[in-house]
């Protein structure tokens, strides 16, 4: 699988570490979050069959993080913006 690093271009996925789902927001009011809300934040992540927004870091290259959208069935990738929001 080729991963399009926004800075280095297409590289094999062995050069990258996977960061899982993108756009995971920290609880807005942590003091108010109960155990169930914390469990959701800590342990539950999107696991869609289809398009998934996710984070990657180019560990063997520029070492920068970025986001992209990848289809979890076909592995087809839509590149994200450089420095895209986590």
């Amino acid at each position: 699988m080729l991963i399009p690093c926004p800075w280095c271009g297409d590289r094999e996925d062995i050069e990258f570490k996977y960061g899982g789902a993108a756009q995971i927001a920290y609880p807005t009011d942590p003091e108010a979050a109960d155990d169930a809300a914390w469990a959701r934040y800590v342990f539950v992540r999107p696991n869609p069959k289809g398009k998934m927004a996710e984070r990657w870091v180019h560990t063997a290259g520029c070492r920068r993080w970025f986001s992209l959208v990848r289809d979890t069935v076909t592995h087809e990738i839509t590149p994200g913006r450089p420095g895209g929001k986590a």
Binding site: I14, D35, N47
Partner: protein
């Protein structure tokens, strides 16, 4: 080597779905079929359908590396896997089908001082749980499995190993077919090409499933869909702490008997056994990314073959004939989720991740108990979904570094 079991023409009926069942199990893999069998056998619940989106036993039970063992570190894991292993020991007789269960021993190699300590600790923990476990020095490893390279001149020399002699392998397809045949004989409907597309709820209670072959009413619904568990659960708004990853495996061409046991190495990361037919069967870790594609990246295969060739120089000229992947459902603590859900009469069995095959009979046995009684058996009570909010995780990943 044993002769393959002679097959009758048909092992099960191929019934049309009825409009209603007492229990609908979603997923006719190893665990789903075992659950159907034990519901009928242990609990007399026979008005049961096992629905399968594709063909029977065509998912992970057809794709795993068939390793069976119970040498887990934590009490909760050791108890459920040992229960399963004890069921394996009588399974050919119980199901009247030679599933080629072979207790040839599972050898876990260690390659560092940290590994040595963890390995000895696990041996002691296993013994305290009444599970057979032995510590072997590098010389004893060599004596038990002569083709392992125990030379000190390799990158990660073998420093010893743990051995569970009661561990081994079985013929995965026969296991699934044997459960299917017996469940079918007792009246359980095994319905293939029947995909669940939604659930019917009455308030907070599930009352049926919708399928591509029409709605089916159900007193209870039991999810058993491994890598597709989150897809199903999301249809009732249930968020599971599960991520789906490819787990790759491969086989060599058929070879003369050369490897007498199962060998696993977490440090250089490969596990290998020789199937009854003669092919070397190997696996390693999951691919890092989420996927439902039933395929993985070639470098994962390359790394496990490099590990295999370092451990077994004799394998260097064997050819890889076929590689494939299954989609495994991984929980944050690498332990299964097996029990009730917030939706009344909806049950969940998932999260077996990379190690589900060995659990097949035990998982089916406790899941059937949970479904029949509406509450978990003592063996699966610790594996409830609530553990992620109570914090009572069963952290096999971190504690034992156990590959599956």
């Amino acid at each position: 080597m044993a002769e393959p079991h002679p097959h009758p023409d048909r092992l099960w009926r191929n019934p049309e779905p009825k409009r209603s069942y007492d229990v609908v199990i979603v997923g006719a893999g190893g665990h789903g079929l075992a659950t159907g069998y034990y519901l009928a056998k242990n609990h007399g619940v026979t008005n049961v359908a096992v629905l399968e989106r594709g063909w029977l036993a065509g998912g992970n039970v057809a794709r795993n590396t068939t390793v069976i063992r119970s040498n887990y570190l934590w009490d909760e894991s050791a108890a459920i896997y040992e229960h399963s292993l004890k069921l394996w020991e009588g399974l050919s007789e119980e199901l009247d089908y030679d599933i080629l269960f072979s207790q040839r021993g599972v050898l876990n190699l260690v390659h560092s001082l940290g590994d040595v300590r963890a390995g000895r600790r696990r041996v002691n923990a296993n013994r305290l749980s009444g599970i057979d476990a032995e510590w072997l020095t590098a010389e004893e490893v060599k004596a038990f499995c002569p083709i392992v390279n125990t030379s000190p001149d390799v990158r990660y020399p073998v420093m010893g190993g743990t051995l569970q002699r009661r561990g081994g392998i079985a013929k995965h397809d026969y296991v699934a077919w044997a459960f299917a045949r017996k469940a079918d004989e007792m009246g359980v409907d095994l319905i293939q090409n029947c995909e669940v597309t939604g659930f019917d709820l009455d308030g907070d209670r599930v009352v049926g499933v919708r399928t591509n072959r029409g709605p089916i009413a159900a007193g209870k619904v039991a999810l058993c869909a491994a890598g597709h568990s989150t897809v199903l659960a999301s249809m009732v708004g249930l968020d599971l702490p599960i991520q789906s990853h490819p787990l790759q495996a491969l086989v060599s061409e058929l070879l003369e008997p050369v490897l007498n046991c199962v060998v696993m190495s977490n440090a250089v990361h490969v596990y290998v056994s020789q199937a009854h037919k003669g092919e070397l069967v190997m696996g390693a870790g999951i691919d890092q990314y989420n996927s439902y594609g039933q395929r993985g990246s070639p470098h994962v295969i390359e790394q496990q073959l490099a590990a295999a060739v370092e451990l077994f120089p004799i394998f260097s000229r064997a050819h890889v004939v076929r590689t494939w992947a299954g989609i495994v459902d991984v929980a944050p603590d690498a332990s299964p989720i097996l029990g009730l859900t917030p939706v009344e009469n909806l049950f969940i069995n998932c999260g077996w991740g990379t190690g589900g095959f060995k659990a097949t009979p035990g998982s089916g046995w406790v899941y059937a108990h949970t479904i029949a009684n509406g509450e978990p058996h003592a063996l699966n009570a610790p594996f409830a979904l609530e553990r992620f909010s109570t914090g009572a995780l069963i952290d096999e990943h971190g504690a034992a570094g156990v590959a599956h």
